[in-house]
């Protein structure tokens, strides 16, 4: 399963996944999930307005990141925090973001460089970076 952040009506990716059951509600949704058969493709850098497709982070990693973010921002349990959630949209300012990164470093035993930290905009970004760093450590 992969999630598509910021769906636009024209899809363009660097590889050719097989799309199954692409919902006709795509254009009205902020995020869309679709099944992909075929090979795994790498995560693209996430900048606002660009397509971000990624399927490398494990669900447990994503969940841990969501928990850390919720705790840092003191969000009520009812708030939906998903892979595509942007930190800024959840109300994080720059100090929050740095604290979140610090929380992730502590939780996963990694060290995040400043230039990597700058690329983290969503929960998914964080999870992907964590897995990359954890893998490098191993």
């Amino acid at each position: 399963m992969a999630s598509l952040a910021q769906a636009s009506t024209a899809l363009s990716t660097s590889c050719k996944p097989t799309l199954q059951a692409l919902s006709s509600r795509v254009s009205s949704l902020k995020s869309v999930s679709f099944s992909i058969t075929g090979k795994r493709f790498p995560s693209l850098s996430s900048r606002p307005g660009r397509l971000q497709v990624s399927c490398s982070a494990k669900p447990e990693t994503l969940n841990k990141v969501c928990d850390i973010v919720k705790k840092q921002l003191a969000l009520p349990d009812t708030t939906a925090v998903t892979a595509g959630s942007k930190f800024t949209e959840l109300g994080a300012d720059s100090l929050d973001t740095v604290e979140i990164v610090m929380g992730l470093e502590e939780e996963f035993g990694i060290s995040v460089e400043e230039d990597s930290a700058q690329t983290i905009a969503t929960v998914q970004d964080a999870a992907d970076l964590i897995e990359k760093l954890v893998e490098k450590k191993a």
């Binding site: 705790k71 109300g91 994080a92 610090m102």
Partner: protein
């Protein structure tokens, strides 16, 4: 250099600054609509402020903006035959309850505001050891009162943010660990609110550890805004005096609701200088 502050919880009596009940930490995280509103307010504040300093020649709506190579917003002036636009530079910062916009003529500027009561989820010294320079960690460690330590931390944070934003090359170009901000106490005689005040107004300086960044041409101010926020401002000095000492800055501060209200608050309790400023 002018700072415009927009308070979101604005009371309708413009002549007195009523104390603002700050939202709790949970309420103060803006989501969805609130974020959009804040973005709109921030844009309105920047546009109306810059338009004002063109002597109202430019309509706020007609201003264009672009980003520099590192994502820092700048004004993109339209070329006109009969008018040379002023060399205005600006920067903004917001918290959930205050948006600040600083404008200068011909000087890069960075501004950062933070709630005075902001508390960290982490232990302050652990955070500082991870992100601040060793001198700054030393300074914070030496403060025994934890409340004063927290306040000094917030001040340092805003000053560091303001510096990086003024440099305009993104945070990875100047990681926080690579420069030290120092508040040096210097007893100065200051005139504030037309009273002579013997006060310890400290000077703020930045030292870059081992990089080519010129650090003696940046000037800092630290203010308390609306009784509730620290505001740090960093701007480049125009050195005609050979680099030593601070060049006097003409500062204006206004509290604003864009297109609705606008009042000068310099000299009132809404703007209290903390460091780097003598009148």
């Amino acid at each position: 250099m002018n700072i415009h502050g927009l308070q979101r919880n604005f009371c309708s009596a413009p002549t007195t600054l009523l104390p603002v009940q700050l939202p709790t930490r949970m309420e103060s995280h803006l989501c969805g609509d609130e974020l959009q509103k804040r973005a709109l307010l921030a844009r309105a504040l920047v546009r109306t402020t810059i338009a004002r300093y063109t002597n109202d020649r430019v309509d706020p709506r007609s201003l264009n903006f672009k980003k520099n190579g590192y994502g820092k917003p700048e004004v993109e002036w339209q070329i006109a035959d009969d008018w040379q636009p002023p060399a205005l530079q600006f920067n903004i910062s917001h918290t959930s309850s205050l948006i600040a916009c600083g404008v200068t003529v011909d000087s890069p500027i960075g501004i950062d505001v933070e709630e005075k009561q902001r508390k960290l989820k982490h232990h302050i010294l652990a955070f500082a050891r991870r992100y601040f320079s060793s001198h700054e960690v030393e300074h914070l460690t030496s403060i025994s009162d934890i409340e004063i330590q927290r306040q000094q931390f917030i001040k340092l944070w805003t000053l560091k943010e303001a510096y990086v934003k003024a440099l305009g090359r993104g945070f990875s170009a100047s990681p926080f660990k690579t420069f030290t901000i120092q508040l040096k106490a210097a007893a100065k005689r200051g005139i504030y609110l037309s009273r002579d005040v013997e006060s310890e107004i400290s000077e703020i300086s930045v030292d870059s550890l081992g990089s080519e960044n010129l650090t003696n041409n940046w000037q800092f101010l630290l203010l308390e805004l609306a009784g509730s926020h620290y505001a740090a401002i960093c701007m480049q000095k125009h050195n005609t005096l050979g680099g030593k000492g601070n060049v006097p800055i003409k500062l204006t501060a206004r509290r604003t609701i864009p297109l609705v209200e606008d009042e000068c608050v310099l000299g009132t309790s809404a703007v209290v200088p903390i460091s780097g400023l003598t009148f």
